[in-house]
C-alpha cells in the first residue's frame, strides 16, 4: 500500500527520533541506576534546553552557541536540585524523592509557560543545515541527518568515557554497588552529584538539538516524559545499551505505528511497557530483579 521509499523514510525517521529519545533517556537511566531515583524533572530539563536554545537564537542569532549555554545552565540547575533538594530528603525513601522531582517537573513546566508563553515557538534550522537532500528515493531534511550524526557521536563518546576511563569505571561501579564503592574510599555523593548534573546537561543538549526539529512547545516535556519512561523500563533501569536499543525500538514503533495504525500508535508502547514490567521487570538488559 506504500512505496518502498516511504518505508525507508519512515524507518530513517524512526531512527532519528529514537536517537533523540536516547539522549534524554541515557541521563534518566544512569541516574536511576545510581541513585534509585526516577527523576521526573528530567523531562523539564529537556524542555528548558529547547527554550534556552530559542532565547539564545533570538538574542545572538547563533544556534550553535545554545549548545554551550543550555547544558551549562541546566547542568548547574541539576546540581542545585541534587545538592539542595534531593539530598535533603534522601533518608525518607525513594517515594519522596520521586514525589519531589514530580513537583519540580510541575513547577518548571509552568515556569516555562510563564517566561516564554503558552504557545509553540519556532526555532529556525541553522542555515548550515537547512534544506533537504535526495536520499532513499525521496527528499530528506539535512537537519534530521545531523540529529542522527550528533546523537550517534554523543553515544560513542559516552560509551568511550564509561568503558575506558577511570571516571567511567567509577560510575559503572556506583550503578552496580554504591555502598561497596564508598567503602573503597570513593566520594560517592560527589559522583552522584556529577552524574545527576551531567544527566541534566545531556537532557538540555537533547532539547537544543530537538528545538529546530520539534519546535519549543509547552507540551514537549510531558510528551518525552512518558516516552523515556517506556524506554528505560524496556531497556532495563540503569542500562545504557538497553536504553539505546529500546529508544530505537520506540522510535520505529511510533514511526510505523502512525503509518499503519494511527489510532493505536500510542497504545502499543504502553502495552509493550506493561508486558515487560509483568514478564521481565528488570527489562531487557537490567540486572536488578
Amino acid at each position: 500500500m506504500f512505496g518502498l521509499s516511504v518505508y525507508a523514510t519512515q524507518g530513517l525517521h524512526g531512527i532519528v527520533y529514537g536517537m533523540l529519545l536516547f539522549l534524554v533517556s541515557s541521563g534518566l537511566t544512569l541516574v536511576f541506576g545510581m541513585m534509585g531515583i526516577l527523576n521526573i524533572a528530567h523531562a523539564a530539563f529537556y524542555m528548558l534546553g529547547a527554550y534556552l536554545a530559542y532565547s539564545t537564537v533570538v538574542a545572538t542569532g547563533n544556534f550553535w552557541l545554545s549548545l554551550l549555554v543550555a547544558p551549562v545552565l541546566v547542568g548547574l540547575l541539576g546540581a542545585l536540585v541534587e545538592r539542595g533538594l534531593l539530598r535533603r530528603i534522601h533518608r525518607f525513601g525513594h517515594a519522596y524523592e520521586l514525589l519531589l522531582t514530580f513537583g519540580l517537573f510541575f513547577m518548571l513546566a509552568e515556569a516555562v509557560r510563564w517566561i516564554w508563553g503558552n504557545y509553540t515557538l519556532q526555532v529556525p534550522t541553522p542555515a548550515l543545515l537547512a534544506g533537504s537532500i535526495p536520499l532513499l528515493g525521496s527528499q530528506y531534511p539535512v537537519y534530521r541527518l545531523f540529529i542522527l550524526a550528533f546523537s550517534g557521536a554523543t553515544c560513542l563518546i559516552m560509551a568511550a568515557v564509561l568503558l575506558h576511563t577511570r571516571v567511567g569505571i567509577i560510575i559503572r561501579s556506583a550503578v552496580s554497588d554504591g555502598e561497596m564503592l564508598a567503602a573503597l574510599g570513593i566520594n560517592t555523593p560527589l559522583v552522584a552529584l556529577g552524574v545527576f548534573s551531567v544527566g541534566a546537561a545531556l537532557a538540555a543538549v537533547a532539547g537544543v538539538i530537538a528545538a529546530p526539529f520539534l519546535q519549543a512547545d509547552p507540551g514537549m516535556g510531558a510528551a518525552i516524559l512518558t516516552d523515556s519512561f517506556v524506554v528505560i523500563v524496556i531497556g532495563g533501569f540503569g542500562s545504557l545499551l538497553g536504553a539505546l536499543l529500546a529508544s530505537l525500538m520506540i522510535g520505529e514503533l511510533q514511526s510505523f505505528g502512525i503509518l499503519w495504525f494511527p489510532a493505536f500508535a500510542l497504545v502499543f508502547q504502553f502495552l509493550l511497557m506493561a508486558a515487560v514490567l509483568v514478564l521481565r521487570p528488570q527489562g531487557l538488559f537490567g540486572e536488578k530483579g
Partner: protein, 326 residues
Amino acid sequence: MRRSTIIAASMVLLYLVPFALDTLRLRVAIEILYFGLFAVSFNLLFGYAGMLSFGYAATFGVGGYAIGLIWKHLGAVPIPLALLMAALAGAAIGALIGFFCVRLRGTYFSLLTLAFSQFLFAVALKWRAVTRGDDGLTVSPPDLALPGGFMLRMGNALHFYWLELTVVLVCLWLAWRFTRTPLGNAALLMRENDERAAFLGYNVFGTKLVVFTFASTLAAVAGALFASFQRLITPAAVDLGTGTEVVFMALLGGAGALLGPFLGTTVYILLQNWLSRVTEHWPFVIGLLFVIVILFMHTGLIGLFGRSGRLLQLLRARRIAAKESL
C-alpha cells in the same frame, strides 16, 4: 460519649452547610467532596500500604464511564444502585490491574500503574462507539424518590450535595473501618517492610491486592459522583493530569492520617479557585507548595494540628530515627 456527640453535631452541620453558601460556592463544596473521597482512597494505597500509583485516575474514570453507560443503556436505575454498580465495576478493574501491579515494588509499581492508566486513556479516547471519544459521554442521573414522597432532584445542586455527602460519609466510614481491621494493620506492615511481612507469614500479594481493590472501589464511587455532577465524562478524567492532581491533593494534606487527604483536597481546590483568579500561572504556586510540603512537612498540612493518629506518630518516630542516624 462526648466524642460521638461532637461527630453527630458536625455531621448535622455538614448537611446544613449549603444554606450558608451561594450557588457558586456550593458547586465548589460538591467538588471538594468527590475529590476528597478520591484523595482519601488514593492515600489508602500510598499512605497506608506504601504503593505510589501514578495511574490512579484509571479507576476514577472507570467509575465515571460505568455510571454513564448504566444510565444510557439500562434506563433510569436509581442512583444508589447505579453507584453500587459503578463501585463494582471499579472493584473488578481494580482487581484486574492490581493483579499485575501489586507484585512490583517502588518505581516499578508506579510505572506499571501509569502504563495501565495510559492504556485506559487510549481506550476512552479511541473506542468511540462506547465512550464517544473526545466529545465525552453524557451522563444523565435520574431523580431519586425518597420514602415519604420527597424527590431528590439531581439537577438541583442542593439536593445533589445532600446525596453526595451521604455517599461520601458512608465511604469514609468504610475506609475508617478498613484501617481498623487486622487487614488494615497488615497494610501498614506492607509499607514499612514487605519482605519482613512475608517472613512473618503474611500473604503480601493477597493483602496488597485487597487494599488495591478496595481503594479502586472507592475511587470509582468518587468518579461516578464526579460524572453525575458534571453530567459528562471525558477521557480527561482518566489522563495523567487527573492522576497528578490526586497525588498533590493527598500529599498536601498529609499521607499520615485518614482525613489528611480530605484537608489537602479542600485547601487545593480553594487555593486553585482563588489563585486562578489572581494569576493564570497558578500551577506554579501549587507545585511550589507541593515541593515545600515534601521537603519540610512530611506529615502534610494535617501535621500542623496537635492531635495525631497512629500513622502520624509512626511517621514522626521514623523521622526522629532518621535524624538520629545522621
